[in-house]
């Protein structure tokens, strides 16, 4: 407004021009697209609406499973970036972690979904997935001449899976956990194709969880029961770790091979391991920058 002189040629009642309308409409559309396609699905919802959505979800689960279910929306903790380390020299391949994870995270029992897959490898050949066997079933483990490499989501810093999702249903949280919003997943499975670790799993049928063994303490982005047709994976037990607890697999491991902690805390176990042990990541050449480390304590 450079001048206050009223001009008779531009009366206040002038109708909106075609150009003006088109510009405003385009700007509004761009704004809508930018906000609607942002990755933070869960946190975009107004607090009150989110709370009522969680309540509805809890009621639906309660009706389905006949027991009270708590769905948490606990946010990331400030100053925390989670990381995991697994001692290959200690793992005995007993698969206790696989089944503890199934119980904790409400994975489907039929069809079977396992977030952790344990590979048996030959000591002479080193870590080589082309020769690895996940179906080993001897009477007793560890087997002579073998070692074991459990693989679940590597929680990559440079995660290929989140880049290919067409709906923004999967993203990396500020605490480093790669999560999936099952309500936004359309089941296209692009992320499964993108993941170099085979860490993502698809619910080909309605997941079957025995009512009695449902874990009722759940997180929206973690172990709440999933519908048919969505992808799921390890979330570092988001429902436990954001509450300060260790993941279920860490606590069950009889060999003490699994370690978990805060990468930003110099006094954490994970930092001790990275600073003192021989550490590696899987498929380092792919530049996925996993936050899941493998190490040799001995």
């Amino acid at each position: 407004m450079a001048t206050d002189h009223p001009t008779p040629k531009a009366p206040r009642t002038r109708p909106v021009s075609r150009r003006q309308f088109a510009t405003c409409a385009a700007a509004a559309a761009a704004g809508f697209v930018l906000t609607a396609c942002g990755p933070k699905r869960l946190y975009e919802m107004p607090k009150a609406r989110l709370q009522s959505a969680l309540k509805e979800m809890e009621a639906a689960y309660a009706a389905k499973y006949g027991t009270a279910v708590h769905v948490s929306d606990a946010p990331p903790l400030a100053g925390v970036e989670f990381a995991y380390a697994l001692d290959i020299s200690r793992c005995i391949g007993c698969r206790r972690c696989v089944y503890a994870c199934v119980e904790e995270n409400n994975q489907s029992r039929d069809p079977e979904v396992h977030w952790i897959r344990v590979f048996s490898m030959e000591k002479g050949k080193g870590v080589d997935f082309t020769e690895a066997d996940p179906y080993y079933a001897p009477k007793e483990v560890p087997e002579e001449g073998h070692f074991y490499v459990p693989v679940a989501c590597q929680q990559c810093r440079n995660a290929p899976c989140t880049k290919v999702c067409p709906t923004g249903a999967t993203w990396t949280e500020p605490d480093g956990i790669v999560v999936i919003d099952y309500d936004w997943c359309i089941g296209c499975r692009y992320c499964m194709a993108a993941c170099p670790y085979g860490a993502r799993h698809f619910n080909w049928s309605e997941p079957a969880i025995p009512k009695a063994s449902l874990n009722t303490q759940t997180h929206y982005l973690g172990n709440r029961p999933r519908p048919k047709g969505v992808v799921e994976k390890c979330t570092f037990c988001i429902q436990r770790t954001r509450d300060g607890r260790y993941p279920a697999c860490v606590e069950v491991c009889p060999a003490g091979a699994r370690k978990f902690g805060n990468l930003l805390d110099p006094a954490s176990e994970i930092r001790y391991i990275i600073e003192h042990k021989r550490v590696m990541v899987l498929k380092e050449d792919l530049n996925t920058l996993p936050k899941f480390f493998y190490f040799y304590a001995t």
């Binding site: 150009r19 897959r117 179906y135 304590a297």
Partner: protein, 176 residues
Amino acid sequence: MKPAIFTALTLVACAAVLAAANQKPGGAPPAARADERLEVPAPPFTDGIFPCSSCHKDLKPNRTKRVLEQMHPEIELKHDEEHRWCLDCHDANDRDHLHLASGELVSFDESYRLCGQCHGEKLRDWRAGVHGRRTGEWNGHKKYLLCANCHNPHQPRFKAIEPKPAPQRPTRPGKH
């Protein structure tokens, strides 16, 4: 001018919404790690075996290396047995305690000090939470296990165990 101003305002509004959406949700900082006292569970004694002095107080110590037949026949020493004997760790005069190489008595719930005399790097890793299983809270109260909770001190090597079932192989449609 007007459309330009309107567009600019819309973009500013969008940016504000985006910034709000990207804001890191608050959370409690991790608990302080000041409390580093090692809380350990009870030593894994066989029922009724402790205190050892209830039997040993009237027995004269027999320092001869031998196969135990009358009592403790289940103990087969496979822990550097060439060089080691019961009384290298168990104190002959105070049966309810162990002793270090220095002669200092240690209680059974501090047995990690005894083990750490030879396995120093394991003790160091264990204190750091890297050797052995930890449960509890990653940023707070952690529960340790004693060496003896996982390793039988007389035969410390892990016994082989039965693995849980292998995953199902993928099935082709129509085939099972």
